[in-house]
Symmetry: C2
Subunit: 224 residues, 2 copies
């Protein structure tokens, strides 16, 4: 299985970062090199055909697709939204949240990181070398906190207690980027994030004065 | 120096992929974890400030910036165009091609891969785990061959003799991508590239019938 061995080491999980330019969203494909079971983080409708084709070409079985947030009053065990993809094969379909969570748990743990929304989570790889931070922590930025149960206080606490406590070399993979950046590290964001290096009162003040326009897709599943 | 240790292993070179959305161009930053010397592959004018800031934040010294191609009748040792960046610090300036090539050679070798243009090169990392293929090989595609000394025959030969001979797990990092894909592997392209899996006559026929519009920036330094 060397063909699909992924990042640097032959037994390392397969990893791919994919981009959707309309919403500036990153989708992440992670798979176990041996079992060929895959997890898709943050698929986007516009690019799901591309993702499914790649999964098929790489000989993977998609076990679960998950989002970094959800906007429904959904009370699953790990607050995870299972995205119902237009299935090319036999995946997802009627599988329950429980079996999906099991599949995710093999390689990812979930940390609740509310603040952008109530239900935002960060997925962390088993070895703590990768964190998929959703809208909680972006590269040199963070998600907005001015709608949908957003709270700058909670976001600040989430990032400092759940993400900045990861090893410094842990890679930070965000849900979005608007400047062509693909990855950062925990240490880099602790040093250079222009918002989250501030004190809590300063951070709250910044976030409450961004005066951002309402997002285009508010009310639908994905709010950027 | 663990902070900047880069991909997976603490002594591994630091590596960053960066994107410029106007021209769909990837810029790559590579640096030695110990010496902190960096190489920037394919910087783009529009995003060079972002790149220089990152280089500064990571505590790196930019030794050389190079392009995967050039359009001048330039006959340097390794056919490399030194991009004259608006220097924030003391880098590049009057350094000669020779000293730049030395810096590159520490971590990269250069393979001539003409076909898109006469002067296209592919940079290959020392351990043959990464190839920066420019416009020769794109993910599931390749550069056009219908202007600027382009030749489908030469491109086919370049890819098959200089890139497809690399180890199958070698990552393929292209100069451009238009579908949000960030990386591929040699094996994947050998199996799934819709053009380069064809025979030479079929490939030539495909490339001679693409009927692409003239690129916007022809005549300037970078032609996409
Ligand atoms: Fe989002
Ligand atoms: Fe190009």
């Amino acid at each position: 299985v060397r063909l699909y061995s992924g990042l640097m080491e032959s037994r390392a999980p397969l990893f791919r970062q994919l981009f959707e330019s309309e919403s500036s969203t990153y989708t992440y494909l992670l798979a176990d090199a041996d079992s060929r079971e895959a997890v898709l983080i943050d698929p986007v409708l516009e690019t799901v055909d591309r993702d499914l084709q790649l999964i098929s070409e790489l000989g993977l079985t998609l076990k679960v697709a998950c989002k970094h947030l959800f906007y429904y009053s959904y009370t699953g065990l790990l607050k995870m939204q299972i995205h119902s993809l237009p299935a090319g094969g036999a995946f997802l379909a009627a599988e329950t949240v429980v079996s999906s969570v099991t599949a995710v748990n093999k390689c990812l743990t979930v940390r609740e990181t509310p603040g952008h929304t109530d239900g935002c989570v960060t997925y962390v790889s088993e070895d703590e070398r990768m964190a998929f931070t959703g809208d909680a922590l972006l590269i040199r930025g963070c998600g907005r906190t001015d709608f949908q149960q957003g709270s700058p206080h909670r976001l600040y606490e989430s990032v400092h207690k759940k993400i900045f406590t990861l090893p410094g070399h842990c890679f930070v993979y965000p849900a979005h980027d608007y400047k062509g950046q693909t990855v950062s590290t925990v240490d880099e964001e602790k040093k250079f994030n222009p918002r989250l290096t501030k004190t809590l009162p300063e951070f709250v003040n910044i976030m409450n004065n961004l005066n951002l326009p309402k997002p285009k897709k508010i009310g639908t599943v994905c709010v950027y």
